[in-house]
């Protein structure tokens, strides 16, 4: 029994990602020895910070059997609007308020999504695509793509706050922003939610078999509202973090990142059909994609091949996850 379990863990989706990451790291390292340095870890963390939050949120939705492609748009709105209000209208400087506003806007849009999907029965892909277009169109029309580069001082203060600074042998310094605590907190919260609370188990339940969940006594509507609103709130926070790190509030920069995030989630072992997914897998998926994206140049891949390579990784990752699911469905039953 013990051997079977160890074998299962060693061949699990998560471990495969780890193997790939090790192989890739070796490949990159042999071309560029500067890679094997603690600075790489810091860079990866910085690059993956916002994506981690997005991916955790998206994982919740996909596990529940739905999908949400409106999150980049929500993030754009929640990073731009509060900054706009504070700098242009109210003329105040309060970073806490920015976060609060972001969460409120995120929750509101999430509730709208949930209403369309859970109560009106519109397919999640189409509903969230609609929301995304409405928000994006509104933002573009009102801002014409102009960013606000003078952020409130309190936001900049967060930008300049670090956990620690590390000096590499090359002399360059790398710092890990305090904002990294945000995805870490979300990782812990999400893991606890999914594993330890009935609400979390409910998310798995409706993803596994919505009807069974209903007759078992789960409040399907409540769970769906929670999931989409959680996505709203989390992406709200992610948007503000991204704005702080970029030192500018750009109304449309984050658009187009849906694919990357969904890819990270699916590569991490979450099934697109719902009911299966782990926090560890998602985190690994994010780091794998970040590793690849960030180091393609070091691996000798010219910039214009990058989209294709990442696309290929997504296709491979999703194929493997789907094939595994298919194999299980067709295997002999106990």
């Amino acid at each position: 029994m013990k051997n079977k379990k160890t074998k299962a863990i060693l061949t699990s989706n998560q471990m495969i990602i780890v193997y790939i990451m090790i192989v890739l790291s070796v490949l990159i390292g042999t071309k560029n020895s500067a890679f094997f340095d603690f600075s790489t870890v810091i860079t990866l963390c910085r690059v993956a910070l916002v994506t981690l939050i997005f991916a955790l949120a998206e994982m919740l939705v996909i596990v529940s059997g739905g999908i949400d492609v409106s999150f980049p748009a929500i993030a754009c709105l929640t990073l731009y609007l509060p900054v706009f209000l504070e700098t242009k209208i109210w003329k105040i400087d309060n970073v806490v308020l920015i976060f609060v506003l972001a969460v409120v806007f995120g929750l509101a849009i999430g509730a709208f999504n949930a209403w369309m999907i859970s109560i009106m029965g519109i397919p999640p892909l189409i509903a969230t695509l609609g929301t995304s277009s409405i928000i994006n169109g509104a933002l573009m029309a009102t801002t014409s793509g102009k960013e606000i580069s003078n952020l409130p001082a309190s936001m900049d203060a967060l930008y300049s706050s670090y956990f620690f600074t590390y000096t590499a042998p090359s002399g360059m310094t790398y710092s890990l922003s305090v904002l990294f605590i945000v995805p870490v907190i979300f990782i812990i919260l999400t893991a606890l939610l999914l594993r330890k609370t009935m609400l979390g188990r409910g998310i798995f339940a409706i993803g596994g078999d919505r009807n069974a969940a209903k007759v078992a006594g789960f409040n399907v509507r409540k769970i769906q509202f929670f999931v989409y609103m959680a996505v709203g709130a989390m992406t709200g926070i992610a948007g503000v973090c991204s704005c702080i790190l970029a030192r500018t509030a750009h109304p449309t920069n984050l658009m187009g990142s849906e694919m990357m995030v969904i890819a990270a989630v699916v590569v991490g072992g979450t099934r697109i059909t719902g009911g299966h997914g782990t926090v560890i897998g998602t985190v690994l998926g994010v780091f794998l994609i970040a590793l690849i994206e960030n180091n393609l140049i070091m691996m000798g891949v010219p910039t214009y091949w990058q989209s294709f390579v990442v696309g290929l990784v997504i296709v491979l990752g999703t194929s493997i996850t789907s094939l595994r699911a298919k194999k299980i469905a067709q295997s002999a039953k106990v």
């Binding site: 369309m116 029965g121 189409i126 277009s133 928000i135 699916v266 094939l323």
Partner: protein
């Protein structure tokens, strides 16, 4: 008069809504800017614009009827366009424009078919959900296009290349020809071929279709291949229109084609849909798009309107169904 009244009653609900919306847009434009909108010049400019997304919408339509979806069409179009332009650019000097264009066009269609084959394999054989496959496909094809062009647009095409997308024959734009061919072809295929009927059956109930002797894998492959070829046709038209090729032209068309098929009466779950509905929806969206430019409204407002229309039309459909169900239940209970 009776005949007209009857035919209105018998019309599909979604077609009725479409006609209503067309009339509303026309009336609004009549009030706001009749002078610029209702001109032959304007009509002509509209006809130049809708074929490229209209043909794509038909690709989306077939995939949706089969129970799937094709979100990768923009990627396929751009990739095919890029390959076509590469061929013309490289061979124009040696073998002349017409042969190189013919080769280029053929290659574009072949690329479209291959992309479709890839999609169809993942969906039909590996049984990965169509939404995920085609979203991934979009990235993949776009990425391939980017890799070939190394980023910037491919330019330097001979002037003759522009003709298809921008030229006309006695004031009738050339592009209307491929569009009409596609409309007639798709119409015929869906209504009068064995394959067409099998697509409807497969989209209605995949398992029952299999049990009725329909080869679902072959049907799926054919469906996405046709969609891919239509994407290739769009690629040819788009590159001719812009007289250049790039990996990210027409990214707004993904949302637009989805909106068109939904407005056109297609059920996202599959099994339903007619060419007439999609055709009317294409015309409607072109009218709206054109109204935006005539009224000089911000084009990003278009995106907002499209998103709102997408959600709005589905809400209307769902409410209508609920009311109908309630009415039927009440009637049945009263009968007891």
């Amino acid at each position: 008069m009776e005949k007209i009244k009857n035919s209105i009653k018998n019309m599909d609900n979604s077609i009725k809504t479409l006609w209503l919306m067309v009339i509303i847009v026309l009336v609004i434009m009549l009030i706001l800017d009749a002078a610029n909108f209702f001109t032959f010049q304007n009509l002509r400019s509209m006809v130049f614009q809708f074929p490229e997304f209209g043909i794509m919408a038909f690709g989306m339509m077939i995939c949706m009827i089969s129970g799937g979806i094709d979100l990768s069409l923009v990627g396929i179009a751009n990739l095919s366009g890029i390959i076509c332009v590469e061929i013309v650019l490289n061979l124009n000097g040696s073998i002349g424009f017409v042969p190189s264009a013919v080769l280029g066009y053929a290659a574009a269609l072949a690329v479209g078919a291959l992309c479709g084959l890839f999609n169809g394999f993942m969906i039909g054989y590996l049984k990965i959900p169509a939404m995920l496959v085609t979203l991934c496909g979009l990235e993949l094809f776009k990425g391939l296009g980017e890799a070939i062009t190394t980023g910037p647009a491919l330019t330097g095409l001979p002037d003759a290349y522009k003709l298809l997308g921008n030229g006309d024959f006695f004031s009738i734009p050339f592009v209307i020809i491929p569009f009409l061919i596609v409309v007639i072809a798709v119409s015929f295929i869906m209504r009068s071929t064995v394959y067409g009927q099998q697509v409807y059956f497969m989209g209605t109930n995949n398992e029952a279709a299999r049990y009725s002797g329909i080869n679902c894998f072959k049907t799926t492959e054919l469906t996405y291949m046709i969609s891919g070829i239509l994407g290739g046709v769009c690629g040819i038209i788009i590159t001719s229109h812009f007289n250049s090729a790039k990996s990210d032209y027409g990214t707004s068309y993904t949302l637009l084609t989805l909106l068109i098929v939904v407005l056109g009466g297609l059920n996202p779950d599959g099994g339903k849909g007619k060419v007439s509905g999609v055709l009317l929806a294409i015309i409607l969206l072109q009218l709206i798009s054109n109204a935006f430019s005539i009224l000089q409204l911000d084009s990003s407002l278009k995106q907002l309107v499209y998103g709102a229309l997408l959600i709005g039309s589905l809400l209307v459909n769902i409410m209508r169904e609920r009311v109908a169900l309630k009415r039927e239940t009440r009637l049945a209970a009263a009968k007891e």
